[in-house]
Symmetry: C2
C-alpha cells in the first residue's frame, strides 16, 4: 500500500441501528420478545468509511446527524474506528437517523429506517477543496443531493467517484447517476432503476443510460459488471454466512479504496468481494469488518 | 372522587417505545423507510400509572430502568405526566427496556421488546410500607417477582391487587396469579394460561385454578368476567378506533383506580371500558389518555 495510505471521502448517511435478535421473524402484527439487543452504528456511507479505515486507508465521512445524544454517539463510535468525523455536521433541531433491525437466527433481517425530514439536505457546506488529497469518493443514495454534488466535484478533479446505488424511496433525485464514474447497484437498486429483466439486461440498460461503468452485487452469486460491453463475473468467495448485515457497504468501501490505490475496476471487484465475504463469515458488526490481512489471506487461499 | 384522591401503586416495567410509522407492515425480511417516528414512553405498568394520574388519582410507579440516558428520559416523561417516580430505580450497568413498534396506516402494530437480563429482578427493596396509604395495587407480568411480592403484600393488607395478565415468555414464574385479588387477562394471556377453548371456558379454568376474580379484555368485543360463577359481559363503547396502542394498559389503570375508589368490579369494568374506548378513539399516546371528564362524558352519552 502507498505511503501515506490513500484517502477515501465517504458521503452519505450515518445512523444508529437498534438490532433486536429474535427467535423467529414476525410476519404479521404481533408482540414478541427479543433475545438480544445491540446498538450499533450504521448507514451505508458510514459503514463504508469504517471499512476503509479497517483496511488501512484514510477514511473521512461527510454526513449529517441530529444535535442529539444519538448523534454524539454516532460520531464517537466512528472516531473510535479511526474515521475522521470533523465533517460530520450536527444539524440543530433535527433527530439523528435511526433504524430498527430485526435479526433472526438464520441471519435474515428486517430493517425499518427513519430519516428526519428536518435533516437539512443542502450539501453546499461540504468542503470540496479537501478532495485535493483524496484518492476516491464513495457516495450513498441516502443523501442524494450530496452524492450528486460531491461526485460531480470528483469527476471534475479526475478522481474515481463510486456510487452505492441501493433502492431509494420513490421520487428520489437520481442525478448522481450521471456524474459517478462507477455505479455499484444492489439487486433491488438495479431492479428499481432498470425495471424488469435479468441482471445483465439491467446493467446494459443502466450503462446505456448513464454512460459509465456499472456493476451489481448479487450476494452469494458474486458481482457482475460490464467491461467494454462484455459481461464480467466475480464469483463470491466461499464462506458460511453468519451475518450479512452491512456486507454491501463493506463491498463499496473496499471497492472505492482499491480504486484509490490505483487498481482496475475488475481487480477492485475481486478485492471487494473478498472483503465482503470475510464480513459475512463473522458475527459482530463493525469490529468484525475485515483487515487487509484478512482479505489477502482469503484471496490467497482461493488462489492456492 | 374522594379527597385526597386514592393512590394506586403500579408495579412492573417502564420502557421506551420507538414507534416507526410505516405505509405497509413488512411481512418478510426487507428494508423499508418509515414515514414518521416518535419516541414515547411505554410499558404496561407505566402506562397504567399515567392513566391513573390522568384520571385524577395519585399514581406511583415501582419499576427499574437502566442507568442510561433512556432511563432518565423514561423517568422524566412519567414525572411530567404527574406520576410519582421516586421508586423508579436505576440499575447500575443495565440497559433500559426498549421496544421497536411498527405502526401501519390501519392502526395495526408489530412490537418487539427487549428487556435487559441484567435488570436485577430482586423486588426486596420495594417499599411495601408505602402501601399503607394506597387504595389499590396494579402489577404487570413483565417483572413477575415484583408482581408476586407486592400483590401478596396487598392481599395481606386487604387492598385490591389487580394483575395485568398478558402473554409472557415461556417459563415465566406465574406465582402472582395465586395472590392477586383480580386478574385481568388479555386474550393471548388467557389462551396461554388456560389453553384452547373459548373465553368463557378460559375464565372458568383460571377461576378454578386461582380461586380469584377473573376477567378478559376482548378488544371490540368488550370485557367478560365471572361474578359468582356467572359470566358477565360489558360491551365495548362505540368509538372508531384510530390507535389501540396501550388501550389494555389504560383499561388496567382505570380498573385499579375504580377499585381504589370503592367501586364493585362490574362497575369498575364499565369505567375502565369507557376509558379504553376514549383512548382508542384518539391519535397520540399518553397525552391522549382520557381524563375523568372524557370518561364520564362517554358513559353519559351511552346511557342517554
Amino acid at each position: 500500500m502507498p505511503n501515506p495510505p490513500p484517502k477515501v471521502v465517504c458521503v452519505g448517511i450515518a445512523v444508529m441501528d437498534h438490532v433486536f435478535s429474535v427467535a423467529e421473524m414476525p410476519s404479521r402484527p404481533s408482540k414478541s420478545f427479543a433475545t438480544g439487543f445491540a446498538e450499533v452504528g450504521g448507514g451505508p456511507a458510514a459503514n463504508a468509511a469504517v471499512t476503509v479505515a479497517r483496511l488501512g486507508g484514510r477514511a473521512t465521512l461527510w454526513a449529517r446527524v441530529g444535535d442529539d445524544a444519538v448523534g454524539r454517539q454516532i460520531r464517537d463510535e466512528l472516531a473510535g474506528h479511526g474515521v475522521t468525523v470533523d465533517r460530520v455536521r450536527a444539524i440543530a433541531g433535527a433527530r439523528s437517523g435511526l433504524s430498527a433491525v430485526l435479526l433472526d437466527g438464520a441471519g435474515e433481517r428486517m430493517i425499518v429506517n427513519y430519516a428526519d425530514p428536518d435533516l437539512d439536505t443542502d450539501p453546499s457546506w461540504l468542503p470540496l477543496a479537501e478532495l485535493s488529497d483524496s484518492g476516491a469518493v464513495l457516495a450513498d443514495m441516502r443523501w442524494p443531493a450530496a452524492a450528486a454534488h460531491v461526485l460531480a466535484a470528483a469527476r471534475a478533479r479526475g478522481l474515481p467517484g463510486v456510487l452505492d446505488a441501493d433502492r431509494v424511496p420513490d421520487g428520489t433525485d437520481c442525478s448522481a447517476f450521471r456524474v459517478a464514474s462507477h455505479i455499484v447497484f444492489s439487486q433491488p437498486g438495479l431492479a428499481q432503476a432498470a425495471g424488469d429483466g435479468d441482471l445483465e439486461h439491467g446493467l446494459r440498460v443502466m450503462a446505456a443510460e448513464t454512460g459509465t461503468w456499472v456493476a451489481v452485487t448479487a450476494g452469494g452469486e458474486g458481482v457482475l459488471w460490464l467491461e467494454d460491453h462484455v459481461l464480467r463475473h466475480q464469483p463470491a468467495y466461499a464462506v458460511t454466512p453468519v451475518d450479512t448485515l452491512g456486507a454491501g457497504d463493506v463491498f463499496h468501501g473496499a471497492f472505492a479504496l482499491a480504486l484509490a490505490e490505483g487498481r482496475e475496476p475488475g481487480q477492485a471487484c475481486d478485492f471487494a468481494a473478498a472483503a465482503a465475504a470475510v464480513k459475512c463469515g463473522r458475527h459482530g458488526t463493525r469490529a468484525g469488518y475485515p483487515t487487509r490481512v484478512d482479505v489477502e489471506t482469503l484471496i490467497g487461499e482461493a488462489v492456492s
